[in-house]
Symmetry: C2
């Protein structure tokens, strides 16, 4: 079924203990859509600048991602520069240039209106709500957010949360949003704000899924080595929503499998810089890692 | 089958956001043996002082723990004072009085010699090795350790590790011992030192088990509230070793179930101060939580 993502396309400059890259294609909508594309058709709504070339567009085409919603605006594409040190658990942002992303207002095209699965990436909650209202046929709308909006636009964020089915946030954001240290309590508080499905990302420690009264907790895939954590969370969301859109329903069993596929896609994303590993995948490689993930996490062997 | 634990008995004074207790019974051997006692017979080797009363001994008797190895020495019992704040992830030690524990030399009695499952709690690695050598019939010997010994007695610790089958340490200790940040690499390095089974405790995030070439990773049980983390790691080890001694073999399947039972016992331990919750359990309550643990962690529902 049709999956739509609204978010950012960016050029990233990244330094990690494993190397350094400059101005490579990234952004939340990019990682999300490339990860999700392995499960079915994806449409992307984002903005890029004059410096976005045919070569960059080819990355989306290669994965059959529908780019009619990829708006071109005069100016430069969003740029981010950051580095990871030590255990690479946290990015240190060195520079952010929002550029054309600063005045981005997502345009929902007629071809988007029938989207049944929607992911509202981390943008101003007013814009998330604006998009959500234009997609009345959506069966599952999930949103991301971040500390910046929780601190500065809490009222607006709560209006958006009241209008979505699911939220995907990291542990620190869940605690900040709910005002609760305990993750179960935090999830319950967030569910009271609207979304019945709360997905909490815990980085290298895994993911917790709260769906109505049920809880699923799973560790992350355990890699012997990884090179660049950039895009892990968005790749998780892409695998999660991609699998759900493919499955076509969001039963507890499918939500759990979606979390596993999301974890698998995140584990691929971090193995190489940027999109390199996600672009070079095969359905067989994904199924093989899913098998390894189950072997890693399942009690009964 | 018979399970022997060597470790500490202590009186703990603890402050957490949920309350305060003074001089309650604790210590690694105490939490371990009470947790393990729910799976089968346990023998304890430890030292206590003049202030250890019949009332304290009754706690062990209540759980049918064999205490002939509980040595009485002139002086006071080991005392620890600590507090937990915020998310209670880490104890802040306010005072340690080793007292009789300072000169503790574990005495292995003839009745201990046939022990097939042995847990060497966190004591001087020289003493751990001394005990291990007196138990030639042991089929599975596991040991704990801590930063203090890794920093100060690495050579001796490595001799002990070369003589045991399993090691149970926390994430930070595993990294310090191996010199590796990556947990898979850390486990491989520790396996090279001797133990084929490496169990890495990750606090509220769960446990990773490395057994020969196989890896199992599981999150912790997710409580809505807990009051006192003291003894969680030792209760985990008690449930882990207790289940293995009961099962009688250490196949991969049994090791995974042992990790789950250990996680279950740790989840009970933290619900109340000290031993309160562990002492008030029933086999039915343990099985019910094991069922909930599987429901929480299993992909297929």
């Amino acid at each position: 079924m049709s999956l739509l993502v609204v978010g950012s396309v960016a050029f990233d400059s990244i330094r990690t203990p494993h190397g350094e890259v400059d101005g490579i294609l990234g952004g939340s909508a990019t990682f999300f859509s490339v990860a999700a594309s392995w499960f079915g058709p994806v449409k992307v709504v984002a903005v890029v600048g004059d410096d976005f070339s045919d070569e960059h567009l080819e990355v989306f085409r290669l994965r059959s991602i529908e780019t009619s919603g990829l708006e071109r605006a005069p100016g430069k594409t969003f740029r981010w520069r950051g580095e990871y040190a030590g255990d690479m658990n946290e990015a240190r942002t060195l520079a952010v240039h929002l550029n054309v992303f600063e005045k981005f207002t997502p345009k929902i095209l007629p071809s988007h209106a029938s989207s049944e699965f929607v992911f509202l990436g981390n943008i101003d909650p007013r814009l998330q709500l604006h998009v959500r209202r234009q997609l009345p046929q959506a069966r599952l709308v999930a949103c991301d957010s971040m500390n910046y909006w929780i601190e500065g636009s809490l009222k607006e964020l709560k209006e958006t949360l009241a209008a979505v089915d699911a939220v995907v946030v990291n542990e620190g954001e869940a605690r900040m949003l709910s005002g609760r240290q305990n993750l179960r309590q935090a999830a319950t508080e967030i569910q009271k704000m609207g979304p019945r499905i709360v997905v909490i990302k815990r980085g290298e420690y895994g993911v917790a899924l709260f769906n109505n009264g049920s809880i699923f907790s799973t560790p992350a895939f355990m890699l012997e080595e990884f090179k660049d954590p950039t895009g892990a969370g968005d790749s998780f969301a892409g695998g999660f929503m991609g699998y759900l859109a493919k499955a076509g329903d969001f039963s507890e069993a499918n939500l759990r499998r979606a979390v596993a596929y999301g974890s698998v896609m995140a584990s691929f994303a971090v193995e190489e810089f940027g999109l390199q590993r996600l672009l070079g995948l095969t359905p067989q490689a994904i199924e093989a890692r899913m098998h390894d993930f189950m072997r890693l996490t399942q009690l009964d062997v």
